[in-house]
Symmetry: none
Subunit: 247 residues, 2 copies
Amino acid sequence: MVTIPESHPRYKSLQKREKIVAGIEAGITSRQGLIAHGRGEAFDYLIGERTLPAALRATEAAAALLLTAEKPVISVNGNVAALVPEKLIALSTLILAPLEVNIFYWTEERVQRIVAHLERLGATNVLGRDAEPRIPGITHARARADTAGIYAADVVFTPLEDGDRCEALIKMGKRVISVDLNPFSRTSRYATVSIVDDVERALDNLIALIRAAKLSTVTTPDFDNQRNLSAVIDEIIERLRVEESGC
Amino acid sequence: MVTIPESHPRYKSLQKREKIVAGIEAGITSRQGLIAHGRGEAFDYLIGERTLPAALRATEAAAALLLTAEKPVISVNGNVAALVPEKLIALSTLILAPLEVNIFYWTEERVQRIVAHLERLGATNVLGRDAEPRIPGITHARARADTAGIYAADVVFTPLEDGDRCEALIKMGKRVISVDLNPFSRTSRYATVSIVDDVERALDNLIALIRAAKLSTVTTPDFDNQRNLSAVIDEIIERLRVEESGC
């Protein structure tokens, strides 16, 4: 990885970019994942590279959903495996949920590499090697799920999920928590709880909220996902107006 | 290239992504170009993946500028070489302007590959092999221009140009036409005419407008680039409001 001085004004963003590029070199991340990352960068710029109040509310709702789930599963793709593997493992330990490797551009080799990467970092419950096409309503190649994991789950935490898969999981009756910086994406629209935030910030918040909730009673907050997405869009519009006045 | 099912709702966008990835495999596109493509995708989402009225007005101004130019040049980077090579060649033939390979992450090998790629597709007037650092005010590595091309041009058509280079070309007294999906980018802010549109749509429109104009008298439209950029941002805000009401 290229060393970026911490004093650089775009240090955090550049660090993330280096992690994704390292993921490509390690055979974990796909090239398409690099493009998806760029898309995230643009949306993160529009929300000011910080957690919006509405995103924090969604994260609270997600924490409650995960804590009250019977069979929660954490879906892991190539980008999150490169960006936040330790945080995913911490979440997995905290809520006793398996990690399931679930990649859009599927190759057995890449699945194996991601599993090995997570296990090297201490993960003990990683599924996905035995995933077969089982999710109805989407093309064969995208329909893979593990019977012990996503296929049987009631709540699926899917950071950076594809819209088709998100819709198909909802149609199977599952509750889906997405993390996606695009409030207009099909994933954000279909998910039960849509966290419009950077995946690193979202996981930090989610882990902190779950740790705190474990010490007290879990309450499911009054949460309206559609209204919350509208609040995110209002924030973006507000920022565009400020930018426009600087043009 | 990966085969994307035509049934996928994001088929067009995914097809473009595949072209960019193929560009990497062919040694034409850079990794940084992939992230930049992703950023463009995000802004394309925001404008509804269609040509905004303000973008069409900018394209009309661009057509007039190219038709009345004495020495127009078309700048070609790794992303446009992968995405729209045939359209760039068609434009080059139509306005009798050379193509000049002009890449941000410069290597002689990549320049050669892009030149060969364009020539294989029928281009006959491709510059860039002999480009030397000649543009004042930017770092040596970014300052390359061909004496027979960009260095001597009065109008430069630079789809997906870097902000620093755009500013330096303007300071040299050239008129610059940019195609950049980010209305807030330094390129969009510096260019003489900023087309905030997808490069494929912009080139289709530009070629159609130039073909039509060639049959009639060329008129230079009354065009204010700053006002037009504000109109783009207003249209984005308008669209966000419509999207929001559909959430």
